[in-house]
Every structure is written in structure tokens, then in C-alpha cells.
């Protein structure tokens, strides 16, 4: 009887196994075909010369050699780092400011929430064109606004000094996602903490520094990690608006990879470059999680 039961037990488990794999089959098949397989292929391709039109030929470490001596590899890394490490903190600060505004208790604040979020749902391409027009050196809105303050017009995207800052401004306009994350966090800060701080004589900024900021560090961390990962992958703006120029100042990493893969048809080299980006993102994410232990404050339930 006992043996029969255990056999039945195994059968139940076996049945669950079959069912379970039946349900996850679509993903599992897709994972093997569209993710795992290609990834393995990418490792191999990184060691080949593959001009697409003819099959790949193994060339050992030639691609690595080429990369280390490639001036544009370094330029694109620098541009991407500049854009990310200046842009993402600016986005986080701006998103937090907007969220603080939206957290005020006034009638009709929901209308403002919609308004502040609106730019974020605009298609990336449309947004890029809009900002190209706004930044136009001859008749753009940006120079008009500067002229109201008596500041001479700038060439913005077409000025090597200003091209990256211009793109950073462009991205600042679309921080809605970060903003909503902050807003959710701000609403979760218990009122009692503010009351206690107020009794201790803390003013507006002291409350912000000693209550709000510590309470939302997990969200600052989250926004930083997600922001940095997506910022490393900036492509559309540089591809459409500046085509990497002027003088390579907006040649960002993914644009650099794209050009090798799909314009120069150097798939082998591009594969290596793609792997390098993957490792850079991996390392940065791990480092951030390590650093988080020092400054991120998680509430203990």
C-alpha cells in the first residue's frame, strides 16, 4: 500500500512536471531560439570575421586587437560615459523635483500629474524631431528663449561643446517614469515622521534632507540603476538628429556598434563590441548593488 502511495506521489509530481513544462513551453522555446542560441552564436562570432555576405571565418583575437587600437571605440565609450554620468543624475534630481511638486495637497493635482507625464508617452522619434526644431540655430525656440534674456543664440546639437548637453536636456523632458516612481515613494513616507521632525524644529529643507531623502533611497537607487542601463543604450537621438556628429561628439556606443554591424557589415567585430557593452553594464550594475549597501536605507518590516 505504501509503495503504491509513493508511486502515486511520483505520478502526481510527474503529472505536475508535464503540465508545468507545457505552460512554460512557449517561453522556453522562445528562450532557446531567440535568446540562448543567439547568445552562443554571438560568442563565436566575436572571434570571427563576418562580412554578412560571406560566411564567418575564424580569426582568433583579431577583433580584440582591433578594438584596443580603435580610436572610435574610446571616443564612443567616453561620449556614452559623459552622457550617462551627467545625464542620469540630472534626470533623477529633476524627476524628484517634479514628484515633490505633484505630491502637494491641492485640488486638481491630478491634472498636473497627467500633464507632467505626457511628454514621456511621445514616440521617441517624434520627440527627437521636435527637439531638432527647437534647437535649430537659425529659427529655433531655444534661441528665442535665450534672446529674451539677452543671451546670444547657440548652435546646440551642431556645436561640439553643446551637443551632448543638448541631448541631456532633451532626455530631461521625458523623465515621467522616474517621476511616477518617486511619487509613489513620497506617498509612502509616513506623516508621523514629518510631524516628529517638525516638533524637533526641522524646517522645510531639514525635513527633506533628514526624512524624505532617507526614506526614498531605495527608489533613488532603483531609478539610478534603471536609468544608467537605459542611458548606456542611447541610440535613436544620435542616429537621427546628429548622426554621431559634430566631430564624433555624439558617437555613442550603440550607434558605434550599429554602424559596424549594419553599415560597415563587420558583424564579427560588432559582436565583440556588443559583448563588451554587456559586460560594462553587468559590472556597473554589480558595483551599484555593492555601493547600495552603504547608502540605501531599507525599512525593516
Amino acid at each position: 500500500m505504501a509503495r503504491l502511495l509513493s508511486l502515486l506521489g511520483t505520478r502526481t509530481q510527474l503529472r505536475r512536471d508535464v503540465l508545468g513544462y507545457m505552460f512554460i513551453a512557449p517561453w522556453l522555446i522562445g528562450f532557446i531560439i531567440f535568446t540562448a542560441g543567439p547568445m552562443v552564436g554571438l560568442v563565436y562570432l566575436a572571434f570571427t570575421r563576418y562580412p554578412v555576405l560571406s560566411p564567418p571565418t575564424f580569426n582568433g583575437l583579431d577583433n580584440l586587437d582591433r578594438m584596443l587600437g580603435d580610436r572610435f571605440f574610446r571616443i564612443s565609450l567616453w561620449n556614452t560615459a559623459y552622457f550617462t554620468f551627467l545625464g542620469v543624475p540630472a534626470q533623477v534630481v529633476w524627476a524628484l523635483l517634479l514628484a515633490l511638486l505633484l505630491n502637494m495637497r491641492v485640488h486638481g493635482v491630478n491634472v498636473f500629474r497627467t500633464l507632467y507625464y505626457l511628454p514621456t508617452i511621445i514616440p521617441g522619434v517624434a520627440s527627437v524631431f521636435l527637439w531638432m526644431y527647437i534647437f535649430n540655430p537659425d529659427y529655433g525656440l531655444a534661441n528665442y528663449i535665450l534672446s529674451l534674456f539677452g543671451i546670444p543664440g547657440q548652435a546646440w546639437l551642431w556645436d561640439p561643446e553643446l551637443s551632448k548637453p543638448s541631448l541631456i536636456i532633451m532626455e530631461l523632458w521625458r523623465v515621467g517614469t522616474m517621476m511616477v516612481v518617486f511619487l509613489a515613494g513620497l506617498q509612502g513616507v509616513p506623516q508621523s515622521l514629518y510631524d516628529a521632525a517638525a516638533i524637533d524644529g526641522a524646517g522645510l529643507f531639514a525635513q527633506f534632507r533628514h526624512v524624505t531623502v532617507p526614506m526614498i533611497t531605495p527608489l533613488i537607487f532603483f531609478n539610478l540603476v534603471v536609468g544608467i542601463i537605459s542611458s548606456f543604450q542611447i541610440f535613436t537621438a544620435a542616429y537621427i538628429a546628429t548622426q554621431g556628429g559634430p566631430v564624433h561628439t555624439t558617437l555613442f556606443y550603440v550607434l558605434f556598434v550599429y554602424r559596424h554591424a549594419f553599415e560597415n557589415l563587420r558583424m564579427g567585430y560588432a559582436s565583440l563590441l556588443a559583448w563588451v557593452l554587456f559586460f560594462i553594464i553587468l559590472v556597473f550594475t554589480i558595483v551599484q548593488f555593492r555601493m547600495a549597501r552603504i547608502w540605501v536605507f531599507y525599512e525593516v518590516e
Binding site: T35, R105, F112, Y133, V181, D195, A261
Partner: protein, 289 residues
């Protein structure tokens, strides 16, 4: 909805008057709205007047012809672009919602061996940058003969490639009591029925959020169509916008009009499903990128 619960009451000593609060809110609103307003204003200006400096903020006179010119440009079939975008967005989103929820059901509600392992594998794919997937996928689709068809933009989404949605739906499914489907020993067909008739109908919020995110990402996608399609007949709206720009000059009025036409359905969706949208972002911290 307790959104206004905490507010910043203690700050009120400084930001005492509602006037100050509204002033601040409106100031932020103006900054957010100026570029959008500029887009709208430009789309309504008489062709030629968009190059005037200093610019007219309000179009005088207001003309609608840019919209007509934008959709009837010779050589650039706007309605065909729209049809392609609609086909891709709808088929990919349908695939995403169906497969992600089906797979999520397996991960959330059936205790099979290897489940945790595969779930960690699924989560780890979230870290892969798109560009890493792009090159080998391109080669794969080339081998399959799918380049310059819409298939690469649709088929993968019927195989749950966006692990994030699977994760999101799985989290939601786990909050539904298990008794519903573990009451009796059932066969596969019964499980499928539970998934379809019991679980899906009560999962509106999470499916709504996934639908919106998916529609936004496919409608706005630029890199995918750029890489996988070549022919004019297969161009999407996102790609088509590019052709208002040329070496000889840009028809800014028409470009802005076309942008607004492209934005309109998304805006309608956003307003009609705002509830799911904001909740979805709260659940995830991700959104219309």
C-alpha cells in the same frame, strides 16, 4: 484612492498659500508643456512661417492643410505606414499578452521540478542589453529568410521574449488563492480551462498594464523596423517620419502634423486607460520607453 493621504502638510508653514503651490505646479507644467505646445503650434502654421525669427508662438492664420499634406505626400503612403504600425502593434501585443500570461500561469501556479531554476533564467534575461540580442537575431532572421518582412517584429513576441511581462503577471497571479485550481487532480485540459476561464477574467489590472506598455513600445519602436525592414511598403510610422527630412530641407509643419497624428492614438489610449497605466508604473517602475 489614498493618493493625497500624506501630502506634505508640515511643509505648509512655508508653502502656506495655495497660490504659491499652484504657481509652482503651473511653472513645472509650462516647462513640460512648452515643447508639446510648440509641436501643435508648428503643425498649424502656414508653410513658410515656421522659419520666421523671432517665432510666432501662436499660429496666425491657423491652417489645417499641413495635416492633409502630411498624409498625402507623394511617394510616402502615410496610411500604409499607419496600417503597418497597427498590424505590428496589435499582433505583437496580442502575442505578448496571451503567451506571457500562459507562461506566468505555469510559473505561478504549478509546482513542477526545475521551476525555480527556469524562473531565475527568465529573470536574468532582463539584464541583457537589446544590442546584444540584435546582431545574432538579425543573423537568425536572415537565415530564416525573414528579413524585409514584418515577422521579426511580431513572431518573437508570441514566445514570451519580454521576460519582464511574464514576471509582472506571475507576481499578480500569485496573489490569487491557489484553492481555485488545486481543488482536484486535473488533466492538462482542465488546467488550460482554469487559466482561461478563472484566472484571466480576474486579472484585468495586470493585463491592462501589460497591454499598454506593449502597445507603447511597439508603436514607438524605431530600431527594430530600421534593422529588419527595407521596403517602403513595410515602413512603420516611426520610420516614415524620417522622410519628412531631407538634404534640401525639412517640412517642419508637415513633420509636426504627422507626429501629432502618430501621437493621437497613443494619447487616446493613455487617457482612456490612465488608471491601469499609473498603477502599472507603480507596480513596475517601468513605462513607455
Amino acid at each position: 484612492m489614498g493618493v493625497l493621504r500624506s501630502g506634505i502638510r508640515p511643509f505648509s508653514s512655508v508653502l502656506a498659500s495655495n497660490t504659491v503651490r499652484y504657481a509652482l505646479l503651473i511653472f513645472g507644467g509650462v516647462i513640460c508643456f512648452i515643447p508639446l505646445g510648440w509641436m501643435l503650434s508648428t503643425s498649424l502654421k502656414m508653410p513658410g512661417t515656421e522659419f520666421i525669427f523671432p517665432p510666432n508662438l501662436i499660429p496666425r492664420p491657423v491652417v489645417w492643410s499641413n495635416y492633409i499634406d502630411a498624409v498625402t505626400r507623394p511617394g510616402h503612403p502615410f496610411f500604409l505606414y499607419t496600417r503597418n504600425s497597427v498590424v505590428i502593434t496589435l499582433s505583437a501585443t496580442l502575442g505578448t499578452v496571451l503567451t506571457s500570461s500562459f507562461v506566468a500561469f505555469g510559473f505561478a501556479r504549478i509546482r513542477f521540478r526545475g521551476r525555480d531554476f527556469w524562473f531565475i533564467v527568465l529573470l536574468s534575461t532582463l539584464m541583457l542589453p537589446d544590442v546584444v540580442r540584435l546582431i545574432p537575431s538579425f543573423i537568425l532572421f536572415k537565415l530564416l529568410g525573414w528579413i524585409d518582412t514584418l515577422l521579426p517584429l511580431i513572431v518573437p513576441f508570441w514566445f514570451g521574449v519580454n521576460a519582464f511581462y511574464v514576471f509582472l503577471i506571475r507576481q499578480y497571479f500569485r496573489t490569487i488563492p491557489l484553492e481555485l485550481d488545486e481543488a482536484a487532480l486535473m488533466d492538462g485540459a482542465a488546467y488550460v480551462r482554469i487559466y482561461w476561464q478563472v484566472i484571466l477574467p480576474i486579472s484585468g489590472p495586470v493585463l491592462g498594464a501589460v497591454t499598454i506598455f506593449s502597445v507603447l513600445s511597439h508603436w514607438n519602436d524605431f530600431l527594430g523596423p530600421l534593422i529588419y525592414t527595407n521596403s517602403v511598403d513595410l515602413r512603420t510610422l516611426a520610420l516614415g517620419l524620417r522622410f519628412f527630412m531631407s538634404r534640401t530641407g525639412t517640412d517642419w509643419n508637415q513633420l509636426m502634423a504627422a507626429s501629432i497624428l502618430m501621437l493621437a492614438p497613443i494619447l487616446a489610449l493613455f487617457f482612456s486607460m490612465q488608471r491601469y497605466f499609473i498603477r502599472g508604473i507603480h507596480m513596475t517602475g517601468f513605462g513607455g520607453r
